[in-house]
Symmetry: none
């Protein structure tokens, strides 16, 4: 039997039961707790029914030491968490002064009038302890019930995230003494599949130490690799494994922690004191938006061109009549001219240009949906490559953005040779 404290999750909301919403909150909660070495042993999801909620709270709180409840704190009639917890612990709902103060401030900042629906959110069980909500109108709260700490959190992901960071993680960790030594190192990579990486590890590191737990998370477009240890005296071993992994993965590594392709490009440009410009057709501004999404991007980014039509390609970035007539808009010549034009008209030393067919319409036999030409580099090093992608319009735009940024990253870091994905797409 497991004698360490048990933590369970209770998620509420009809939208989670009906299939209209995919629950990402519980994965976020579990991921954060995991980084602190705390395991979620069970999670239960139910709809917005008062009696169902009370019964479930009763069942779960008697089966674990910490119960995190997510959802049902909002102002509408289907938000029943406070009411159900009050029923469970046989306390009345009363207006909590701290919750009211928070709500008044929240309304004042937004210049909205505090209405009765909002005011419902200040009605909490008498013994509730407030869990501050740095961004939303509804505070969280916790109560003790028969040895179980019940923490109620909001369903809005951004509010939940801030609340977890702000206080919930610490509160939970206090109930799990001795588990705060999970140490995790994370690496972001691009261009290497999960199974290829596993294969590489099997053949190159057959003696991988079991004290260093290896985890993968295949996101889109990055693959995250995690190395975790649970004992402080394994940290040196962890460092060795981390270095080994960095050697193995080499050029595929984008960076540590929450690095993205865009942060890698912005950092590499800043290190060189250079600037970049983009000319985008099929991605429609997504590459520029990714770059300018990085804080401090203004040091490396001045201008971007979204050139959807042929005439705009000519006018804004000086694509030639000849290339458009001879090769069409989706061609190497046009991609190169777009990149050259973007550099010439912005004064940037580097450019990315993309022209392709995002679909669902617009394809032909020679250039089916998913065809894209990417040009990247500086004036003297400009290269171009044709890719053939599959999937939806959104997937195409996401992948073209990712590949373009990765090609520019490789250029800026002086990585030689073709990336492996040239043969895949």
């Amino acid at each position: 039997m497991n004698t360490s404290p048990q933590l369970q999750l209770l998620l509420t909301g009809n939208e989670l039961m009906s299939g209209h919403t995919v629950d990402s909150n519980s994965a976020m909660i579990a991921d954060w707790l995991n980084r602190r070495g705390i395991e979620v042993t069970r999670k239960v999801t139910i709809g917005d029914s008062f009696t169902g909620l009370v019964a479930e709270l009763d069942l779960l709180s008697s089966a674990c030491d910490v119960l995190i409840v997510n959802g049902g704190l909002g102002p509408t009639v289907d938000d029943l968490t406070a009411q159900a917890v009050a029923e469970l612990i046989a306390e009345p709902l009363t207006e909590h002064p701290q919750a009211l103060q928070h709500l008044e401030q929240w309304c004042e900042q937004r210049r909205v009038v505090l209405n009765a629906a909002n005011r419902k959110q200040t009605q909490l069980p008498t013994s509730a302890t407030i869990v501050p909500n740095p961004s939303g109108s509804a505070v969280g709260f916790s109560v003790e019930h028969q040895g179980c700490l019940i923490i109620c959190t909001p369903g809005v992901p951004s509010e939940l995230r801030l609340m977890m960071e702000d206080s919930v993680l610490e509160t939970v960790a206090e109930r799990f003494p001795g588990t705060d030594c999970l140490s995790t190192l994370r690496l972001q990579s691009f261009g290497l599949g999960e199974s290829s990486l596993q294969q590489l590890l099997n053949s190159e590191c057959p003696d991988w130490p079991k004290e260093v737990e290896l985890g993968f998370r295949a996101g889109l477009p990055l693959l995250e690799v995690k190395l975790s240890t649970r004992q402080p005296h394994h940290s040196e071993l962890q460092q060795q494994c981390y270095l080994r992994l960095q050697q193995l993965m080499g050029e595929f590594i984008i960076g540590p922690d929450d690095s993205t392709l865009a942060t890698a490009v912005v950092e590499a440009l800043a290190a060189r004191g250079c600037q970049i410009s983009c000319a985008e057709s099929c991605t429609g501004g997504a590459i520029a938006a990714a770059i300018t999404g990085v804080a401090g991007a203004s040091a490396v980014f001045e201008a971007g061109f979204v050139t959807y039509s042929n005439s705009v390609k000519q006018q804004l970035v000086g694509v030639s009549d000849e290339s458009l007539a001879a090769d069409g808009a989706v061609s190497e010549a046009v991609a190169r001219e777009m990149a050259e034009g973007a550099m010439a008209r912005s004064g940037a030393q580097y450019a990315i240009a993309v022209t392709g067919i995002a679909g669902p319409g617009g394809g032909s036999d020679n250039k089916p949906v998913g065809t894209v030409w990417i040009a990247w580099g500086a004036a003297q090093t400009l290269r171009a490559h044709r890719f053939q992608l599959t999937g939806s319009r959104a997937h195409f735009q996401l992948m073209v953005t990712a590949i373009s940024l990765d090609l520019m990253r490789r250029e800026l870091l002086g990585i030689e040779g073709e990336p492996r994905y040239f043969s895949r797409y």
Copy 2:
């Protein structure tokens, strides 16, 4: 008490507990069952532990009439579902001839040798009924246990989908006679908070019929409103409520189903046969990317300008020295000149221009982080407004994009008057 049959889900897998995988299977199952009028009343997720799995199967099967188990049918050692079900119903695992035949065919088609790991998937409880798997190597199966039908399905989403379509939905529906009539209408809205909407409904529709269930989902940036009925003879009532809600929400409605601000703008432009251009500073291309993310955007969008620096604002869209010097880059004059320049240089009849301070750096006393000027409209109708937003850089960019698109939507649809959020931001 609810006396209709109860259906619950049990999801298994360590990856679902650790936060490494976001569960989308349960939403898929629930969505399909919902369309047949069958409600999932509860779902439980646990990791890959044999004793935990047996205990949970015991608990759930005694609490419901149909239990769908998802995951744990694969070839690896952590796939324990068949073993746990056999333990629950006190039957041995035996090689099931039909499962073996399926596996042999599966291997033959893929020209792979049937190995021991795969063969494990043919070991099922003696009384199991096969649920065919049209695409994967592991068949599903069902057993009866103390009045509960337990159906075990694979965790691979594509296999689950085919299996649901192929037979599981029908099998389940037989246990829920007369429930194939849940009907849901959905509306997307922007600019009206959940609590304001609830308040509006409370005051304007105090007699809302209980047969039409009302649900909200506060996303970022849209608020979804749903109306559901469970009886075919309530569909007229549902339609009446839907019309009532449309009247109440009026200008805040973006559209039905999966409408977004960008699809609304693209549709409104297409209906007028007009085009739009964007000049973006602080959103760095995100508005153009949102518009061009809509299939068919090429009919209404030709050109976008990402003008990050002052010199580029002058060069690309003709912002004047005078305005920059007198008012600074984040000003009404510059926003207006950006919009005018975007129209003049692209030939579009409409433009959106934004200039602001996304942060975290770059703020001042007069223009703190979060300040933004948005200009929108046609040459003759151009307006501009200053907003003050809070939150992270990403949140700022998301909200500025959303507000800009909504302002353009209102302009195109001829909605008069200021939106309520002018006083909020």
